[in-house]
Symmetry: C2
Subunit: 407 residues, 2 copies
Amino acid sequence: MMADDRFRTGDQALVRTINQTLILHHLRQTAPVSRAALSELTGLNKTTVSSIIRDLIGTSMIREIGAQSGGAGRPAIMLELNPDAGYIISAEIGVDFIALLRTNFTAEFQWQSRSPIREPHDSAAVLNQLVGMLKNAISNALIGNRRVFGVAVGVPGLVDQQSGQVLFAPNLGWHTIPLEGMLAHELDLPVSLDNEANMAALGELYFGVAQGYKNVLYLTLDVGLGGGIISNGQLFTGNAGFAGEFGHITMDPHGKLCGCGNRGCFETLVSLPALYDHVRTAVARGEPTLLADLVRTDMLNFEGVAEAARSGDQVGLAAFASIGRALGVGLASLVNIFDPQLIVLGGEMSRASELMLPIATEELTVRLKPWQHPLPTLAAARYTRDACVMGGIATVYDRIFNLHRRG
Amino acid sequence: MMADDRFRTGDQALVRTINQTLILHHLRQTAPVSRAALSELTGLNKTTVSSIIRDLIGTSMIREIGAQSGGAGRPAIMLELNPDAGYIISAEIGVDFIALLRTNFTAEFQWQSRSPIREPHDSAAVLNQLVGMLKNAISNALIGNRRVFGVAVGVPGLVDQQSGQVLFAPNLGWHTIPLEGMLAHELDLPVSLDNEANMAALGELYFGVAQGYKNVLYLTLDVGLGGGIISNGQLFTGNAGFAGEFGHITMDPHGKLCGCGNRGCFETLVSLPALYDHVRTAVARGEPTLLADLVRTDMLNFEGVAEAARSGDQVGLAAFASIGRALGVGLASLVNIFDPQLIVLGGEMSRASELMLPIATEELTVRLKPWQHPLPTLAAARYTRDACVMGGIATVYDRIFNLHRRG
DNA sequence: GAATTAGTTTATCGAGTCAACAAACTGCCA
DNA sequence: TGGCAGTTTGTTGACTCGATAAACTAATTC
């Protein structure tokens, strides 16, 4: 029974799966909706829709909410996803914490927890802690005697989807940890493992500002610069899951030295350290600024700079402006490469996106010549702190509501 | 009957189509091959395979070639694609020519033609000429009373796949020409329209050095620098078909002015003009070189520089070396973004890839730190002059042998 | 002739379609 | 106010298509 890799096929059940997923997809997008409307939306026969709906109500994934009359004719029985069908659990492994989120089937907040990680990041210890927290969240869930649809884990590192391994997580000091398999075995549930930026991108696609878009670039601006690519409504992970590492594209071969050993990486120009550098340099030059004290006491922080800029501080404004300009230059390259409809800016820095986006947009417009190139929209992410865990929920959603080809 | 856009579904014939395509795919890759082996390869039941094979023999897309015994047991009846099943026709609209290629069903050369385009590039006139050439090629084909599987047309410009329009072809002076629809109407055959670099990428995927790879970057190095992206075995075109315009990613914000109005575009560093510039500058500095005469008489050409370099000319070698180095820097960025398994270098310059690839590879290795990043393979394209027309054949192949989700 | 492998025949099943119908409403007119 | 026409929703039953499984025939080697 050597199944093929390119398509999932072999039996007719495939058709049922496709159509079931198709109906779930539309239910999620258009709920509340009737069987008749679903038949219209999907092109499936009314009979087929009824049959699939019967199955789905059987597994309690959807439910009927009363009839709703709309003009002449028999009133429609409206359907929607059943929030109580079960739970979705998502975890983020941070540099010094583990965060957990549990939602119901309609992705509504239910429960949250966060624990610090004790140094050092011995992978076995962290895994133990993670498994404990997950088991706790699951047993909490099972009290309600409900299903757990999936568990997602986001990590700050490179993940190989094929093998379900964390290949490399510099900030944790991890190398080739087969996390997905271990968790799946430990919890006996479907586990999704991915890089946190990829997950965050999916989060914006399903629940955030990227809803309805098919080609999206997501960037996280924090201490570093990461990213995720949505191509054709699917997460693009590249050959081994390394795709989207925008932070280390070379922007200026003679630029600042980057931690990676090269010069002028995107993240040397657009990141928190880059922002602080601008401020420090200005202070060193003696420019008047509200931020002088923060620099002197080495207490520079993002909110401080943003506040100053918002209240008109020239040094703060200039710092954001030059980040915004560099961002625009980099985005122009990415647009030439990808031609996305939407670019989403996430990460902590996106909380001050109003200080950067106009300038970035201006730079983009100048560089791309809109009369021969459709300009993508630039938008700030909906999620910042909880981007990764919401992305985890979205990753499980993606398994349920989206049909993927394998391989 | 509003069919849905996300999946092709609606009736069970979908499964038949999938499985038929699946079998054709394996037949192409593994021919000659028996029914039993196909059953193994695809995971489909022997009966199903037999039934599909019966259909395919009925439409004469495949044929039986005698039995072949291999040890004990009944000898297998081997199958292969039927070269005479029909024809595939491919055209390239160049700046001053139209090239045509006709192959049989197994993509073997059959017939070729090339006509100059008379200035100016009035789109109506060019289209007339194209239609004439295509009709000629088709009627030639129909003498054999065979099927034409499809017609592909590659253009040097931006193509919107959704609408089948040439949005913008600067070198032809074209704007929003609905070429696909016009040809489909005129010829009453399935027509595929795409950018020439995209097509060339598909050509390498199906017939060239990229066979068997799933994530590939293709670059054409000529007067400009173009590209195509293969993601997950499919051509990635972006939102409106603009993806893969690698030529205008910014490599150095203080670099040379590019025709596009920006500075330091990739194509100002890696292209034929860039190569010639290196040579001219060296000559102007008075460095000794075989190329001095060519520069003086303004007869500088690619083969000349390549020849000189191959025979040890220092200026020629240095010119290629600096192109190779810049190429490596740019590729490092692209690898960070895409994580491809393979990078293919095409275009005229790839004919001297042995003068650039080692240096580019070296630069790539230094920048990407192979111990934390799997290095992609770098390879010269199989096709240069005929890259576009072979790509056109591949584009038709892609319709026949690959299953695409719509939308 | 036994063993082995290839391919076909026959019966069955799963899933989608179509057409007809039952159900439940609105609206209009007597 | 009652009743029937018109309309839309959802279900039932007959049918079809395509995949599967098991048994069978076919053609070879040893």
